[in-house]
Amino acid sequence: MAAGATSGGSATTDTYKEARTWLLLPSWVTLSILVLAPVIMMLIYSFLTKEFRGGVIWEFSLSAYDQFFFDRGLFGDEPPKLEWTYISIFWRSIWQAGVATLLSLAIGFPTAYFIATRSEEMRPVWVFLITIPYWVNLLIRTVSMKFLLRDQGPLNDFLINIGLIDSPLHIVNTNFAVQLGLFYSYLPFMVLPIYAAVERYNFSLSEAAADLYASKLTTLRRVVLPAIKPGVIAGCILVFVPSMGSFLAPDLLGGAKNFMIGSLIEEQFKGNAGNWPFGAAASMILLSMVLIILMFSARQQAKADKAEG
C-alpha cells in the first residue's frame, strides 16, 4: 500500500497557492484528530496502570512493558527472568510473515517479470487481473481459503480423486495454513512494485550481458536483479508488514495453537479479562518494529534514487 507513498509528485504548480491552507485544513484536522491523536493516546495508555474490569487508572507505570519482557513470578517479588511467552508470540509472527513473504516472492517475482515483458496494451490487463482479488473483502478471502483447504474441502477431494493422496491432508489449523493465508492475502502487494521496477528496467542491459556470453541465469542474477532491487525490497515490505500484524488469517486458519501478535493484542480489548495498557504496549512494540522497517526502506529508496541520478 505504501508503494504510492513515494509519489510526492514533482509536477506541482501553484495555481491555488493562496487557498492552500484552507484546502489542506480538512485533511489535517481529520487525520490529526482521528489518527495522530489516537496513536499518541495509545502511547500514553501503554504507560498507565491497568484497571481490573478493562480500562486504565491514570497512574504512570512501566508494568505493561515489564510484563511483556520479564517474568517476576506469581507475586511479582522474584528476580526478573526473561518472559518468553510474548517474545515467542512476536517471534512466531515474524517467522510466519517471513515465510509468507518468501512464498510471495517465489510466485510474485516471476509473475511480475512475465507481466512486465508483455506488450504495452496487455500489461494493464494483467495488472488488473492480479489486483482484483485484493479488493475482495479480506474476511471473505480468508473464509474462502479455509473452505478450500478443509479436510473434506474441494482441494482434498480433488487430490484424492486424481489419486495423488489416499486420505485428506490436514492443512487447516497448522502453521502452514496461516502462511498460505497470509501469502494469499498479500500476494498482489509483491507483484505490483516488482512489476513497476521491471517495466522501467532497460533491457539493452540484458542484451549487453548476453553479448558478453553471460548465461540467462547469470544475467537474471547479476544484471536484472540488482537493477530492480528497490522494487523487490518494496514488495517484500508490503507483504511482510501487514502479515506480521494480521489477525484474520491466524485466527481463522491457524486456530488456538498458532497465536500471532494480532490475536494477542485483540485479546486484551475483548471482554473483561483484558489488560488495556498491556495491549497498548504490545501495539506500540509492533508499531515501532513497522516504523523501523519503513525507515529502512525509505533509506534504501533514497539511495536507489540517488544512484539513478
Partner: protein, 269 residues
C-alpha cells in the same frame, strides 16, 4: 522466428508460474461461488444447482441480522467514502496545485499515515481514543474511524490524476478572466472526475470491507456485514455465508472494474 530480444527477455517457467499465480488468486473465490449454488444442506456434497441459500440470505432465520448489518455497512460506506473523497480532493488540490511549501512532506506523511500504521494498531489506538474522551461506541464511532482510513485510498488516485492534468487549461480560463473558484469548479473538477470517481469507489470498497477496525470501535450489538459474517463463521462455515460472500465479492469486483475503466478514460483530449 523469435527475435533475439524476445529470447533475452523471457525465461522458461515464468509463464507457468504466472498462470499458477492467477489460479491461486482466483481458485478460492471461484470455489466459494460455485458452492454457494449448491442445493445440499452439507458443505461437502454436491447435489445440483439451486438458489436456496440466496433465498435463505434474504428470508431465512438469519436474514434480519444480515439485513440490518448490510444497511449499516452501506450507509457507513457511502457517508465515509463521500466525506473522505471531498477531503481528499481538497487536499490533493492543495498538494498538487499549491506550489512548494515547507509543510508539504509533513502533510503527505499525515495523509499516508493510515496506510503505514498496521490495521490492528490503528484499531487499538482508535478504541483507546474514543474511550479516553468518553465517546459512546456505536455507529458514529465506526463512521469516524472509516472516514479517517478512507482518506489515503481516495487521495492516491485523485492526486495521481491531478498530476497528469496540465495546468494550461486552468491558466487559459484565468487568462479569460475566470476567478480562481471558477477555474477550480468549471475546469479542474470536470477534468478530475475520473480520478474522483475511482477514488470514491476505492474508498467505498475499503470501508465496506473493513473488519478489524470496525470490530474494535463498534458498540455492543452494532454489526456491519463483515463483523456479522465473522461472528457467523466463528460457529462454522455455513452455506448461507457462501451466498453472502459471493454477493459481496461480486459487488467488489464490479466496483473495481468500473473504477478501472473510469480511471483509464481520458477526458482531457
Amino acid at each position: 522466428m523469435a527475435s533475439k530480444q524476445f529470447d533475452i527477455k523471457s525465461y522458461t517457467g515464468f509463464k507457468g508460474i504466472t498462470l499458477l499465480c492467477l489460479i491461486i488468486l482466483y481458485a478460492p473465490l471461484v470455489v466459494v461461488t460455485i458452492y454457494s449454488f449448491n442445493a445440499s444442506q452439507s458443505l461437502t456434497n454436491w447435489e445440483g444447482l439451486s438458489l436456496r441459500w440466496y433465498v435463505d440470505v434474504f428470508s431465512g432465520p438469519e436474514s434480519a441480522k444480515f439485513k440490518t448489518a448490510a444497511w449499516n455497512s452501506f450507509v457507513i460506506a457511502i457517508i465515509a467514502a463521500t466525506t473522505a473523497t471531498a477531503i481528499a480532493t481538497l487536499a490533493a488540490t492543495g498538494m498538487v496545485r499549491g506550489g512548494r511549501f515547507r509543510l508539504r512532506p509533513v502533510s503527505f506523511g499525515l495523509i499516508s499515515l493510515p496506510l503505514m500504521v498496521p490495521e490492528i494498531v490503528l484499531a487499538v489506538a482508535t478504541l483507546i481514543f474514543f474511550n479516553s474522551i468518553g465517546f459512546q461506541r456505536g455507529l458514529l464511532t465506526i463512521l469516524l474511524a472509516h472516514i479517517a482510513f478512507c482518506i489515503p485510498f481516495a487521495y492516491l488516485p485523485i492526486s495521481a490524476r491531478m498530476q497528469g492534468i496540465e495546468d494550461s487549461y486552468e491558466q487559459a480560463a484565468l487568462d479569460l478572466y475566470a476567478t480562481k473558484r471558477q477555474a477550480f469548479t468549471k475546469i479542474l473538477m470536470p477534468l478530475m472526475m475520473p480520478g474522483i470517481i475511482s477514488g470514491f469507489l476505492l474508498a467505498f470498497i475499503v470501508s465496506l470491507d473493513d473488519f478489524i477496525i470496525t470490530n474494535f470501535v463498534k458498540g455492543a450489538g452494532v454489526e456491519t456485514l463483515p463483523t456479522a459474517i465473522f461472528g457467523s463463521v466463528k460457529q462454522g462455515i455455513k452455506p448461507n455465508i457462501m451466498a453472502i460472500s459471493t454477493l459481496l465479492l461480486s459487488l467488489s469486483i464490479v466496483m473495481v472494474t468500473i473504477s478501472y475503466f473510469v480511471s483509464k478514460s481520458d477526458n482531457t483530449k
